[in-house]
């Protein structure tokens, strides 16, 4: 048991190493020194306490989105629409934040609650069709991302634009802020929410009947059906829950960091979360570490654009290479079975 887990972890680490090597080659091609780029990334991510706080700040939305993705992956669902749920959740929270004066504390909770509802509502239609008619959820959730981003831009610019401002809503009222943890950084309680969610999700999967059913449906749907699990209903619930957490990520980002909703406010966090969850092989606790890794890459990349000629998108390249090399690991698993055999990603 332990040996298996050790082997799985070391496999992921080797895969990450291989991806970093390939990333180095690409950095060379782009005309930079890989050593300089990696050192700058490291310095930008962990250079001093403000940098570390910044890394944790970037980690927060990736972690929450990662937990959202884990919930889906455990139940055999690819929720690729976390990005869209994040945007709608972010907008919904901002709307409660600036349009609905409430006492402090309650205001924050109300805004987060609406973010959760918005995220779940946005995934509800794809989830329904996935559960009822087996409509491919990958494609429907990806397409709904584009609609969500455009829709929130429309709300922001045509309905709630701050007079004389950029493409952004009015600022939210201070009563709705997520409080900050330290004085020197905008790092806020969102990180704690993320950690609690990750551990909570892990406990639910490990110790509750429902969580066991989800994992069973994700790994062996036929078996689960014979075992008396209502597979369709559960698939719907899994996607809905995943979307709710995705919406929450947007709410946390709005209430904790930006204090308003702006066009394109958190690009890529949804996808980063999905990648973090894939790298963690669907385990919420492992996602804490992969999200931290990607948060560090993101925060380090800010310095990258200042200190080197490389673009910060180079970290996107590295992330993609990591997932590709992790997915290629099947190479070391088993060989020699029938070519016609089913391909499967193990969770």
């Amino acid at each position: 048991m332990m040996n298996d887990r050790l082997r799985a972890v070391s496999g992921q680490i080797i895969a990450v190493g291989a991806a970093l090597l390939m990333g180095a080659v690409i950095i060379l091609m782009v005309g930079e020194s890989p050593a300089r780029v990696f050192m700058t990334l490291l310095r930008g991510a962990f250079g001093d306490q403000e940098k570390i706080a910044g890394t944790l700040l970037q980690t927060t939305p990736i972690l929450i989105c990662g937990v959202a993705a884990c919930i889906g992956l455990r139940g055999g669902m690819f929720n690729v629409g976390i990005e869209g749920q994040l945007f709608l959740g972010g907008f919904a929270a901002a709307w409660v934040g600036f349009a609905m004066p409430l006492p402090a504390g309650i205001h924050t909770l109300a805004a987060l609650a609406l973010a959760v509802v918005a995220g779940a509502a946005w995934v509800a239609i794809p989830a329904y069709f996935r559960a009822r008619y087996n409509t491919n959820e990958v494609v429907s959730t990806i397409l709904s991302n584009y609609v969500a981003v455009l829709l929130t831009s429309y709300f922001t610019i045509f309905l709630f634009k701050r007079p004389g401002g950029w493409s952004e809503t009015p600022p939210i009222l201070p009563t709705s802020y997520l409080p900050e943890i330290f004085t020197f950084s905008r790092l806020n309680w969102g990180l704690v929410i993320g950690l609690v969610l990750a551990v909570g999700a892990a406990l639910v999967f490990r110790y509750t009947k429902w969580g066991y059913g989800v994992t069973m449906v994700g790994s062996a749907p036929k078996f689960a059906e014979y075992g008396g699990v209502n597979v369709k209903r559960q698939g719907f619930m899994v996607l809905l829950l995943s979307g709710a957490v995705g919406g929450l990520a947007g709410g946390v980002e709005t209430l904790g960091v930006h204090h308003r909703f702006m066009e394109g406010f958190a690009p890529g966090f949804g996808f980063d979360g999905l990648i973090a969850a894939l790298l963690a092989n669907g385990s919420p606790v492992a996602t804490i570490f992969t999200a931290l890794f990607f948060g560090a890459l993101r925060n380090g990349s800010l310095l990258l654009e200042v200190d080197t000629s490389a673009s910060r998108e180079i970290i996107t390249v590295i992330q993609a290479l990591i997932i590709l090399s992790v997915s290629a690991q099947v190479l070391v698993r088993k060989r020699g079975d029938s070519q016609a055999g089913e391909r499967r990603w193990k969770f």
Binding site: F129, L143, S309, S327
Partner: protein
Amino acid sequence: MEILDRLVNVALIAATLRTTAPILLVALGGSFTTKAGIFNIGLEGQMLVGAFFAVLGSIWTGSALAGVACGVAAALVFALVFAVLVVSFKANEVVVGLALNILAGGMTISLMKAIFGTRGSIVGHGIVGLPKVQLPGARNLLGSWAPLISGFTPLVYVAFIAVPLLVLCYNRTRLGLYIRVVGEKPEAAEALGISITRVRYTASLLCGLLAGLAGAHLSLGYITMFTENMSSGRGFMAVAILIFSNGDPLKVLAGCLLFGFADAFSLRLQTFGYPSYLVLTVPYVVALIALFALSYRARPRVIAETLESMRKLLSVDKNAEPGGKNPQ
């Protein structure tokens, strides 16, 4: 009704054909992988690198044709990586496809910054666009309807000619037959000695070829520029079409015309002063509605028919295959 007249006219239909072309090319590419039993979510990325390298090639060589070749070559590399991971290593198609899409997005922006020192878009720099083909005699033949067949860039014609070619390929050629059998009944293909690996590689590369052309059309067709993520979901719309058409070229054409129309229509609505953000959602919403509306039907599977025709084809040059004589 007057508004409708101003909205729907020859120009709109011509625009529809234009906007249909790139999505048709990439969807036809995906038709090969779909028929071969591979769910290829990586179309978007193949198209995007195709668009970027087409611009790069066009600048370097000063020739649009060489640009198209560069775009296709880049898309083929992506398709090859996809095939190696998915076919040989049996990695999850969705994971690999998504990763390649993300890679394409990050790589094109990084390269743009490294080569041109800018982000956002590449305009000018001597990009040579594709010429427009004026068919001689179109005006005499069709009068004011001539823009429906003449004045498009070459890849538009390639896209529409590819539809009947693919129909022929699937129904009349050995390769097409092999692709279908591998997709529909891999066990049977294996039993009959068809190399599933080779067929799936071929399908993936053919897909890359067409996706590269689609990308080249995006960046060298009507606008000669490259913008960050300029494929903007067309690859995913193509995947949606492939799901409900099951990769059949004629149904793919019908789906693509629908999206081409939605695209052209939304562009036109914008000129009428409707909020651009809402108008731009139209193609995606249409894609989603079509996906939901059509997916409740079970996908038809013509295994028996395929096996029958394959047995005929094989018995031409080989003695009758004993393995195929046991229809369940």
